[in-house]
């Protein structure tokens, strides 16, 4: 994917915002051959499942060759307001770096709130494709912290 026009952090944040404020369960956006997919992490059985969306036919089925499986990056969002830290202590190495593989349940960062250090775990396994927040920066509720490519 190098050399392609990438989404910047603000754009991805805006997309997450659009999805979270709407009834939309899943959203895919493509520019060049980079594609971002945002899915709501809801496991409510009674809620409409993404199945309703997935059979949507490709726009131009005949002309295009079948594409590689879309990259479905999943954001890890802040579950609380606080200060984002990438490492357990100032001298320790960061929990994860871009390009690292993570498995579901693995701690990826810390959010300090009310003098408490809260370890944040990823709910999906995959590869860390982006870290969106600077070490030591304040984060608000729901702010995307990292993007995980679950299929990598």
């Amino acid at each position: 994917m190098s050399g392609e026009r990438a989404f910047n952090v603000e754009e991805i944040r805006e997309l997450v915002r659009i999805v979270s404020e709407s009834e939309i369960v899943e959203l895919e956006v493509e520019t060049g051959n980079l594609r971002v997919a945002i899915r709501k992490a809801r496991t409510n059985a009674s809620a409409p499942t993404p199945q309703a969306l997935s059979p949507a036919p490709p726009a131009a089925p005949v002309e295009r060759p079948p594409e590689a499986p879309p990259s479905r990056w999943v954001p890890i969002t802040a579950p609380m307001v606080g200060t984002f830290y990438r490492a357990p202590s100032p001298d320790a190495p960061p929990f994860v770096a871009e390009g690292d593989r993570v498995s579901s349940g693995q701690t990826v960062c810390i959010i300090e709130a009310m003098k408490m250090f809260n370890e944040i775990q990823t709910e999906v396994g995959g590869r860390v494709v982006r870290i969106l927040v600077e070490n030591g920066a304040p984060v608000e509720y729901g702010q995307p912290l990292m993007l995980i490519d679950p299929e990598d």
Binding site: S20, V81, E140, G142
Partner: protein
């Protein structure tokens, strides 16, 4: 004075507090839920932080996230507005422990007035008449029956922790007591987390008149006159005015004095309101005290020319009251209409949605406090207040004429509002004569006359 204040609220009152801060040269931090990203208070504040998902319990009542935001942004004080955390003594206490100033009274004062049965006792001790009833909470039907025998029926059961009519029951005879106590207690338990009840005599056609006070915690307490708030529906105020029309100078003076006395008795600090019921013979009874800024505070601001929110902030910063009682002058008459996203022709059903078009009224004597703009979507999660229209006139007739004119100018496209209801009230002959009481809407307003 503070350099930065966090506003722990939303809607028009968050906008109101931000305005006061800006005039004082204080930077502001807004907090908002995911449903309020596009709300006006988020745009107006110097900084804004998302603190949780739409339900208030996870966002505007989320104490850890609000305090974290204050800490991260370096806010020295928190203004709670009204509702949400404004009368939560635990929150005021946590702020104090965290070294953040709570812009409001002490946790002790909130606690003392928050329990309605206890507040009655405090008022009685201060020599203020209370509605005849139980001294403190009532636990059994037998206890209530004994009181009923003494004060007579009908009587009202009320929730100690309550407000807004929930956990309240009118009881006409001793036979109905047991069932009413069970129902009221259950409702109070569900609404306030406490099923504790107390008993009061039911007053026929009382007026609801309240007195605004300000206290600086340095021994200075002033009143800013009274407000008439009898135009209510299901115990929710819809229209308020100041001064109260048609009361005697003697009653007026007595109400003001009682309010100041109560504030002094509990060593009150900040802005507060003491609510009274007044019967047809001008007997008055303490109802409750609200330890916060109130929705209807602008009518008092209009007749005194003072800024109550500014004064709250100054007092919280440790400053003295800006004026003595003698320096406070009352001029003219003011009326406030609460414009809610409700359909008055359909039992005031909530009407959230997108405001596609908006023309706000203006002109002489009109003030509008709102967080709504064209294109704004009113989320369904919070209260239905979309705007407050306040009209000032040299006398009541001029204030009514201006309000009527302003409501004709006010256009809201996309949602239903209470504007047509207010126009019915304003043209009502009884209202125009100042003959109001808490069941005015049921008795005098024909809601079927509203356009559907």
């Amino acid at each position: 004075m503070f350099r930065k204040v966090l506003v722990a609220n939303r809607g028009e009152i968050a906008v109101r507090v931000i305005r006061a801060c800006r005039e004082l040269g204080i930077r502001t931090v807004a907090v908002y839920s995911e449903a309020d990203r596009s709300s006006l208070h988020v745009r107006l504040a110097d900084e804004a932080f998302c603190i949780g998902p739409p339900p208030a319990t996870d966002s505007y009542l989320n104490i850890p996230n609000i305090l974290s935001t204050a800490e991260l942004t370096g806010a020295e004080a928190i203004h709670p507005g009204y509702g949400f955390l404004a009368e939560n003594p635990r929150f005021a206490e946590i702020c104090r422990d965290a070294g953040i100033v709570f812009i409001g009274p002490t946790p002790e004062a909130i606690e003392a007035m928050g329990n309605k049965a206890r507040a009655r006792e405090v008022a009685q001790k201060a020599g203020i008449p209370v509605v005849p009833g139980s001294n403190g909470p009532v636990h059994t039907a037998e206890e209530a029956a004994t009181i009923g025998q003494r004060i007579g029926y009908p009587l009202v059961l009320k929730a100690s922790a309550g407000g807004g009519g929930r956990g309240m029951r009118l009881v006409h005879s001793p036979q109905d007591l047991t069932r009413a106590i069970q129902a009221a207690s259950r409702e109070a338990e569900a609404a306030f987390g406490s099923g504790e009840l107390y008993v009061e005599k039911y007053l026929e056609e009382p007026r609801h008149i309240e007195v605004q006070i300000l206290a600086d915690g340095k021994g200075n307490v002033v009143h800013l006159g009274e407000r008439e708030c009898s135009i209510q529906r299901r115990h929710q105020k819809l229209l308020e005015e100041a001064p109260a029309p048609g009361i005697s100078p003697r009653l007026r003076t007595n109400l003001h004095r009682a309010a100041v006395r109560l504030a002094q008795a509990i060593h009150y600090t900040s802005a507060g309101t003491i609510e009274f019921l007044v019967d047809r013979d001008e007997n008055f009874y303490f109802l409750e005290m609200n330890t916060r800024i109130q929705v209807e505070h602008p009518v008092t601001e209009m007749i005194t020319g003072l800024d109550l929110v500014r004064e709250q902030i100054r007092i919280a910063a440790g400053e003295r009251l800006s004026w003595s009682q003698r320096e406070i002058e009352f001029r003219g008459h003011a009326i406030e209409c609460r414009i809610n996203a409700e359909d008055p022709a359909n039992d005031f059903r909530p009407s959230p949605g997108t405001v596609r078009g908006l023309v706000l009224p203006g002109g002489p004597g009109i003030r509008v406090d709102t967080h709504v703009y064209a294109g704004y979507t009113i989320p369904p999660y919070y209260d239905s207040l979309v705007a407050k229209v306040i009209a000032w006139g040299r006398d009541r007739a001029e204030a009514i004429a201006r309000m009527d004119r302003a409501l004709r100018e006010f256009e809201v496209v996309g949602i239903r509002t209470t504007i047509p209801f207010h126009r019915l009230v304003l043209e009502n002959a009884f209202f125009r004569r100042g003959e109001v009481y808490t069941n005015f809407v049921q008795r005098r307003i024909d809601l079927s006359a509203l356009p559907r």
